[in-house]
């Protein structure tokens, strides 16, 4: 017996406890447990990210490339010069890279769910939401990287945000909040779609209109009227306007409020839907 009873000496085994009363065990995880389980799964996602650095291309090269490309191609046409375009462009790129980054959240979740380890997550006494929240929390690192690089690229190209340090930090934070919130749309797609490819396809169809039919790269008043209506309704436009206000004037405008409200709404709706489909899939 001694060879196999050395796991945690002195502690009663679960066997002993449960023979006393399996009925006394908690019937659902507490909030504190849910948080610690989500953090453990965020740790896992960070390890995974470190092992597969190629997955970081969309938050490193892409923002640098897009910032430079858009600035030099459209700068003259839209704003007369590159430096005049940057205050308009940088917040747009911030929103766009955050969206691309959170699209990857859904695709990777789908890939992950098809792997054996998710079977174990399902069989463990953990909160059903933890395997969804964990990767989402870890992805804050991705949004943070993308936002930082975009701002640095802008500064290198001559962008001088009038909002000052505080405005830049606030805009950076809002980008992270927006990325994290909008990611729940793609997380939900990840739980309903049949394959990672399907998630990719659908996500593209969601992402392109959201980014390009917004005020991210051009002023909305240059667009035809029917398009302006959509652009105004698009939550990405509110985020872009809010980030612009913060970066370029340091002002906490109404759009900041709208952006945050929109984010909260997206999390409430798609977070609930995600957990529901994920739990039902088991």
């Amino acid at each position: 017996m001694t060879t196999t009873t050395t796991l945690t000496p002195g502690e009663p085994t679960v066997t002993a406890r449960t023979l006393a009363g399996a009925r006394d065990l908690p019937t659902r995880p507490s909030v504190r447990e849910t948080v610690s389980q989500s953090l453990a799964l965020a740790w896992r996602a960070l390890l995974k990210m470190r092992r597969n650095p190629e997955q970081l291309v969309d938050v490193t090269f892409q923002p640098l490339l897009f910032t430079a490309m858009f600035a030099y191609i459209f700068g003259g046409a839209i704003s007369g010069s590159v430096s005049d375009y940057l205050p308009l462009l940088i917040p747009g790129i911030l929103a766009q890279t955050a969206l691309t980054a959170c699209m990857a959240t859904g695709i990777q979740l789908r890939e992950d769910m098809d792997k054996g380890v998710f079977d174990r997550f399902k069989s463990l006494p953990i909160a059903r939401i933890a395997p969804l929240v964990g990767p989402a929390v870890a992805d804050l690192v991705r949004y943070g990287t993308a936002a930082t690089l975009t701002i640095l690229a802008g500064l290198a190209m001559g962008y001088r945000p009038a909002g000052g340090l505080l405005g830049v930090v606030a805009g950076w934070l809002l980008t992270l909040v927006a990325g994290w919130s909008l990611a729940w749309i793609f997380t939900w797609l990840g739980t309903v779609a049949r394959s990672a490819q399907a998630v990719q396809g659908i996500s593209m169809m969601v992402m392109f209109p959201l980014t390009f039919l917004s005020n991210a790269f051009v002023p909305a008043d240059t667009l035809p009227g029917w398009l302006q209506a959509f652009v105004r309704f698009n939550p990405v436009s509110h985020v872009v306007t809010a980030v612009r206000d913060l970066l370029n004037s340091g002002a906490v405008t109404g759009d900041v409020g709208w952006a945050l409200l929109g984010c909260a709404l997206v999390v409430a709706v798609f977070g609930t839907l995600s957990v529901r489909t994920y739990s039902r899939k088991m």
Binding site: L7, T8, T13, T15, T27, E33, G116, P125
Partner: protein, 332 residues
């Protein structure tokens, strides 16, 4: 240490009329199971019989389409979270994280099960040692052998020291030596007071490990009993001998008749003798008898009844495997 008695109140698993349908396929078609505390219960059946589906319903991984089940007295449908606290589940395919090392995997599952960071670390070390994985603890799991993966998988299921363990085909695809090690590990679990519900495609595995066995076929239970009871329904093992000198055949037959009172079948020109055995242990008596009479043999083998033969006897059809599975490849 808890005792292995089955007299404790309540069964480990008590299931009635389990049903699961996938489209038109009735994967599980009204199965009853009673697993007593402290025993090893084997679910024996060919590929596609419904073993995995049954286990997954009991483990809260698949919703039941019909019937009801209790695990250690807890209703599976009503209180899945409680059932998950009582169970260690090791699936047919490794359910560990390929992106993490063995050590990181065990620490992650420890943290998820509510251990503190230090507890998770020390439990991981203990389990790595116990399962002989210390040397591979920091290597990529992708490079693990099938046996190592299974051991890690089982280790991960033991972190919370669950009183009831489900093992889905724990040795399918393992080489004989690794299989033997896995059997030893399972026996240790039972000595520690665990109840084990395992599935297998091999009668000899059920025979080696299980106190009781349910044979299932096409989603239905076709027999239940101790391994000996099942085998006795099928007939016997046989001893296949080859004599060095075929001229000794008549003498050898005389020895065999004297010892096991059975009529052997012969292939005289090659010196071959096949002896039916009611009890495989009588093989040794026959071999000793031949040596005492100085009748040398060139080979001897005991042939046990196979699952195929059990099936044929129980269902009237064999274990025709319509879609053979690649052994270690996840087919999802």
């Amino acid at each position: 240490m808890t005792t292995n008695t089955t007299s404790q109140r309540g069964a480990a698993v008590h299931a009635r009329g389990l049903v699961k349908t996938f489209g038109r396929v009735r994967a599980v078609d009204g199965i009853d199971l009673d697993v007593h505390r402290g025993e090893v219960f084997g679910v024996l059946g060919p590929n596609g019989a419904g073993k995995t589906t049954t286990l997954q319903m009991l483990a809260t991984l698949l919703p039941m389409d019909g019937g009801n089940a209790e695990v250690l007295g807890v209703d599976v449908r009503e209180h899945p979270h409680v059932v998950r606290q009582l169970l260690g589940v090791t699936g047919q395919y490794a359910s560990v994280d390929e992106n993490l090392t063995a050590r990181e995997n065990l620490r992650l599952f420890g943290r998820l099960l509510g251990l503190s960071s230090t507890q998770a670390r020390s439990t991981a070390e203990d389990l790595l040692g116990r399962f002989g994985l210390e040397d591979a603890a920091d290597r990529a799991i992708a490079k693990f052998s099938g046996g190592m993966r299974r051991r890690l998988d089982l280790a991960a299921s033991l972190i919370s020291r669950p009183p009831l363990i489900f093992l889905d085909e724990p040795t399918t695809g393992l080489d004989p030596r690794t299989r033997g090690q896995m059997w030893d590990t399972i026996r240790e679990l039972v000595r520690d007071g665990c109840t084990v519900l395992l599935t297998t495609q091999y009668l000899d595995e059920a025979d080696q490990l299980a106190d009781r066995v349910a044979v299932i076929d096409q989603g239905r239970k076709v027999a239940e009993g101790t391994p000996d009871e099942l085998k006795s329904q099928v007939g016997s093992s046989s001893l296949q001998l080859r004599l060095v000198d075929p001229a000794h055949t008549a003498d050898a037959v005389e020895v065999v008749r004297g010892l096991v009172a059975e009529q052997p079948t012969l292939t005289p020109e090659a010196g071959g003798i096949t002896v039916p055995l009611a009890d495989a242990n009588r093989a040794a008596d026959v071999l000793i008898g031949l040596r005492q009479r100085d009748l040398p043999i060139s080979s001897a083998a005991v042939h046990k009844p196979t699952l195929d033969e059990v099936f044929l006897a129980l269902t009237g059809h064999g274990t025709e495997d319509t879609r053979p599975e690649p052994e270690m490849e996840p087919t999802r």
